[in-house]
Symmetry: none
Amino acid sequence: MGRRGRKKGADGEKRRRLLLQAAATEFALHGYHETKISMIVEKANVTQPSFYLYFQSKEAIFQELVDMFQQQLIMFIKQSLLEEGLEKHTLEGEITERITRIFTFFQEQPQLTRIGFYMANESKVIKNQIAILIEQNLLEEQRNGYFRSDTDMHTVAESLVGIIERLTKTRLLNGLSKPEKLANEIVRLLLYGLKNET
Amino acid sequence: MGRRGRKKGADGEKRRRLLLQAAATEFALHGYHETKISMIVEKANVTQPSFYLYFQSKEAIFQELVDMFQQQLIMFIKQSLLEEGLEKHTLEGEITERITRIFTFFQEQPQLTRIGFYMANESKVIKNQIAILIEQNLLEEQRNGYFRSDTDMHTVAESLVGIIERLTKTRLLNGLSKPEKLANEIVRLLLYGLKNET
Amino acid sequence: MGRRGRKKGADGEKRRRLLLQAAATEFALHGYHETKISMIVEKANVTQPSFYLYFQSKEAIFQELVDMFQQQLIMFIKQSLLEEGLEKHTLEGEITERITRIFTFFQEQPQLTRIGFYMANESKVIKNQIAILIEQNLLEEQRNGYFRSDTDMHTVAESLVGIIERLTKTRLLNGLSKPEKLANEIVRLLLYGLKNET
Amino acid sequence: MGRRGRKKGADGEKRRRLLLQAAATEFALHGYHETKISMIVEKANVTQPSFYLYFQSKEAIFQELVDMFQQQLIMFIKQSLLEEGLEKHTLEGEITERITRIFTFFQEQPQLTRIGFYMANESKVIKNQIAILIEQNLLEEQRNGYFRSDTDMHTVAESLVGIIERLTKTRLLNGLSKPEKLANEIVRLLLYGLKNET
DNA sequence: GATGAATGAGTATTCATTCAT
DNA sequence: TATGAATGAATACTCATTCAT
């Protein structure tokens, strides 16, 4: 069951994970530049050369965290696409469910989210990918007649990403709101608008 | 015209502005850490020690740019509050106008916006202030019966900030959309929602 | 009289030369790897960052010394070619003169010689160039009938370079012999051989 | 066959030789400093700590290779002294034979030669020893009247070493010339010189 | 007021070498 | 005997900041 190249037993893997965890914490807290290798290794109780036993450079470990975020997020979304649609019978419920899941993922991975969704250069790409995914979904519903045909779904998708981005930061990651509640509020707003119907 | 501090004459002021402009360009382009003092002074055609004649530190000049953004934005918003409400007779028009103005300001100050709205630590505070302002407006309209009473205006305000934040980055600052168009789309979305009324 | 790019006054140039001199001494003494930047700056009475004010890297200053050696050597040889041939009437005398000059140059630049002729990667190229130059000279004399026609001048040229290389190290640079004497011995050996004519 | 130190068995010896061979290859190719222990052990398919089971340090293994070169060379020369002189009847033939043998040894041990003759600090000593040996031979022939009495045999010996040194590098080790040919050319040059007798 | 020159204090990275098992 | 893992000790290089003139 050779894990990764020629070396590293269970002990090494453990230490590797320890470093990744420490790095995640520090990066999430202080950002890339303000986080020094010395801070990471201190938190992981490891010497500085040991760090380079497991990671090529500071940039490399940061990138690895970003990749973890990205891959886990993609996996998470793929799974969501497979599971859902079965039980939820209303459109509103389905959309709410999808957004809830994204929030849930962010909630469960607060550090990776801070790093991959807010700090990395790739975060731009990641958000764009999400926006595209959302847009495709919206377009399908629009074709199915659920949404107004005069609305530019690209802008809507971008807006939704913006909303998620902001609420994640101001309400979710600090524990002020729960995924379900946030998703519900957003969906109601986007579906029905603010305007009083009277 | 006796204006003239202890030290710098008109020439000095010119140089100071030159440095601020150069710093704005560089910071907006490369971010805080990747921007070196040497890059700023080179762009401003000024020697390194001269820099410290006008600014205490790298952080100080960055902060000054952030402050400029914040103050100009506040001034801009205050003016908007005074001017508007006169001509626009519909609620939708008024809201659209307000958002348009924010976008317009961002469009006119792309570098300061990048710095003060996206890179600075204060951007968090700035966005919060905008969110509060928006929320207060929304709450008033809600009290006036224009908006549903069952909607949490805090979340709406935050959402709007998120939307503005994202669309500014992905559509406005790169010239893909104009303030009016963006504002219109947003307002329609938020007022009436996506749902097909049939 | 702007010397070199935009900056550096006389003071800077002085320090630059100081560093070059110190580096030459240290490199000649300890070789590239065993010479640390700290040794160079200490010898030059300069701080480490100052070093980087004048040279991009350790490799760069070493290369500069190598280039100096190479260029001075080329200039020296060119000059020799122009001057000589006028007074010296015998072939032997002319050849001796040329070799003497090379030794003289090495003697006057012992450190650069150690660096550029023995330590640098380019030394291979430099020696080859000298060998080619010598070979061309020998071939001409051969065509003129001064030298045996059955001798491979390429090998002779290479041999002469080998002789110069070794005698420079074992006799010249440590002051055991003088250029003239060495050149005389070599030329006599190469022209007439060892064999007793009886 | 009770040979067997305290620790290493036959397997150990094999490994030791493997390491020596790998080290020879790497040192010959990249030099001392650019060769890392990690490169040696990788080439020998051995772990890093194993290396230290057989050699005290990087310097030690390098030194061992240098010693091997030196001892083998001495042995080789001693053998040559015993064997020759019997069959070769002419002086020229005898000298040619001796030089041929040295070249042959270098050709058969290219890596050790590169290390011991060109890279090691001892190479200076080794070359000096060879020079002394040669000088003694030459002096004897001189006393026997074969060589001019007005020639400084010390310089001749040094010159011969220089020639061998250079031709080995530029013609022998890269396969451009064969020992016999090189030796012949050298001896003819040194015995009879370049000068056309007419 | 202006500048050429200088530097203190970091900071990532490397590598030979050695534990602990 | 063998090895996965660890590390002490350096080392080149950077950059914001400040003298001295």
